[in-house]
């Protein structure tokens, strides 16, 4: 179809824009020199160094723990918050408050939490980062899901109540499935933001633990090294594989469900 083809220009431009620097980054991971900034020659040595670096490995594990944990909290609480705001209150103040953590400058939230944890004498650890990331991530999920609920037709929920479903069953079976695209988008956002968050993590993590961004930031005294590029390249490869595999799996699942 010829119609709408013009739309594909910004569409592909967006992906090109997003992946152009990624391509550069992957190329630089094969740099034989020390700089992530000037290409000297081809080498795999940084991948070797990467494999040997246990701090990066630990950091990666911690980051995944934090991102997964905070995304889980954020997805559950954020979705509930969005539904509550859309369906159970007319308060615009609450709408705004719920969005606050998403728009607060990182540094202010980070210092606030640092002070707060200090005042209540909380021993910091990974969980304190999970809580902190969960907070802003929740606001992102809530906002995205809220977007989907705005002005939505409530007759489906009514039909469900009418058929004998209580509020909980109605929420789980009717409201929630309708929200799935919003929840997926919100959760992706939450996960992505947590993965790469530095300031809040730095101030709320225990002294002996590090997330990957903390490791990387502390490593960049002279700028980035190709080792971190190698890391990025591997992360991309793994996530691409996971996504494609996931997609294959759901496809198989779907074709089964069709029978």
């Amino acid at each position: 179809m010829g119609r709408g083809r013009l739309l594909y220009v910004p569409f592909w431009a967006a992906y090109a824009f997003l992946y152009l620097p990624i391509a550069v980054l992957v190329v630089m991971s094969f740099n034989s020199g020390d700089s992530a900034y000037t290409l000297d020659g081809f080498s795999l040595k940084w991948y070797g160094e990467l494999a040997a670096d246990e701090r990066i490995r630990d950091g990666l594990v911690n980051t995944l723990i934090v991102a997964t944990g905070s995304t889980a909290i954020a997805t559950v609480l954020g979705t509930m918050l969005a539904v509550g705001l859309a369906r159970h209150t007319r308060s615009k103040t609450l709408d705004a408050v719920a969005l606050m953590p998403a728009v607060l400058p990182d540094l202010v939230l980070a210092i606030g939490l640092l002070v707060f944890y200090g005042v209540i004498q909380l021993t910091l650890g990974l969980y304190s980062v999970v809580l902190a990331h969960g907070l802003f991530a929740m606001a992102f999920v809530a906002a995205v899901v809220r977007t989907r609920l705005a002005g939505a037709d409530t007759s489906l929920e009514e039909a469900s109540r009418d058929l004998g479903a209580g509020p909980v069953a109605t929420f789980m079976r009717i409201t929630l499935p309708q929200l799935v695209p919003g929840i997926v988008a919100g959760a992706l956002l939450a996960f992505t933001l947590s993965l790469d968050e530095f300031v809040i993590a730095y101030f709320t993590i225990g002294n002996s633990e590090q997330t990957l961004p903390i490791v990387i930031y502390s490593m960049i005294r002279f700028g980035v090294t190709p080792k971190i590029n190698a890391l990025a390249a591997i992360l991309l490869l793994v996530s691409f594989t996971a996504v494609i595999a996931g997609q294959r799996l759901t496809r198989i699942g779907e074709s089964r469900a069709q029978d």
Partner: protein
């Protein structure tokens, strides 16, 4: 009446976990920090607990107003560009067959599963004097241009960093649109563009507002990108706050600046909530 009781119970069930979390982990810490805006900096940093309103007086300073103006300009430009690219992208993702939707969506965020600093360095590589973009342009017989260390580079960096924050809420909003409405519009003689302007866009206003807020706010408050891609030649509101907290170690004034910024954001948030409720 039972309906309103049900409504209140629902409000409690759905809202209380999130709001409690918010109250404890955001509001309390925020009050702790922002409270210091009424105190004074210690000689060597830290806080001297003596009441003063002097910090608020320091806010009205042409220097800060200038920074504010620059920040607004840059953040607005970034937001508009993000909308311009993000909307069609989200729109097409929402129209993809189901099996490709998630893939396309994940592909939007995947670059961000690397590291912020690395991505910025990649942009430096692309944009600097002898960089890839200039080399490309040279093949076309153009350039070289000064692409780096200016406001344009800041906008590119911000756009790059926050595009997903535009695409994902838009996707969530567009995905639920009934395709028959677009059909009805086309049937009534509207071109694709008119249909977009008159039907699709108005019905996805909440998504546009959310996405715009998500892009505008962190752009406005960013301090790393102005330093790395803008070469610190111009700074944004985020730099000011960072400077006070980290460099000048003036928490009271840092808090005051943050308070001012938050006040601006709250106005935006309330406006957003108001507009989204109408949509």
């Amino acid at each position: 009446m039972s309906r309103s009781r049900g409504r209140r119970l629902g409000a409690f069930v759905f809202l209380s976990p999130g709001l409690t979390y918010l109250l404890v982990l955001m509001l309390v810490p925020l009050v702790l920090v922002l409270g210091t805006s009424f105190f004074q900096r210690g000689r060597f940093g830290g806080v001297v607990y003596e009441f003063t309103t002097e910090n608020f007086g320091r806010l009205v300073d042409p220097l800060y107003l200038g920074v504010l103006g620059d920040s607004v300009r840059i953040a607005v430009l970034t937001t508009l560009l993000a909308l311009l690219i993000g909307y069609p992208t989200a729109y097409l993702i929402a129209r993809l067959p189901r099996k490709w939707k998630t893939v396309a969506l994940v592909a939007i965020v995947l670059p961000f599963w690397t590291n912020f600093i690395i991505r910025i360095y990649a942009w430096i590589m692309l944009l600097n004097g002898p960089g890839l973009v200039n080399s490309g342009l040279k093949l076309l017989g153009l350039g070289p241009y000064e692409l780096l260390y200016n406001d344009g580079a800041i906008v590119v960096g911000l756009l790059y960093s926050y595009l997903p924050l535009m695409v994902l809420p838009l996707y969530a909003a567009i995905e639920r649109l009934d395709p028959q409405l677009r059909e009805a519009s086309a049937n009534l003689g509207a071109s694709a563009f008119t249909t977009f302007r008159k039907v699709t866009l108005p019905l996805t206003v909440p998504g546009v507002l959310t996405g715009s807020l998500f892009v505008f706010v962190p752009s406005f408050g960013n301090f790393v990108i102005p330093e790395m891609l803008g070469g610190s030649k111009s700074i944004m509101v985020g730099n000011l706050i960072r400077n006070q907290f980290l460099k000048a170690r003036d928490w009271p004034f840092g808090s005051t600046l943050a308070l001012a910024l938050i006040a601006v954001l709250v106005v935006l948030l309330v406006a957003q909530a108001w507009a989204a409720r109408r949509g």
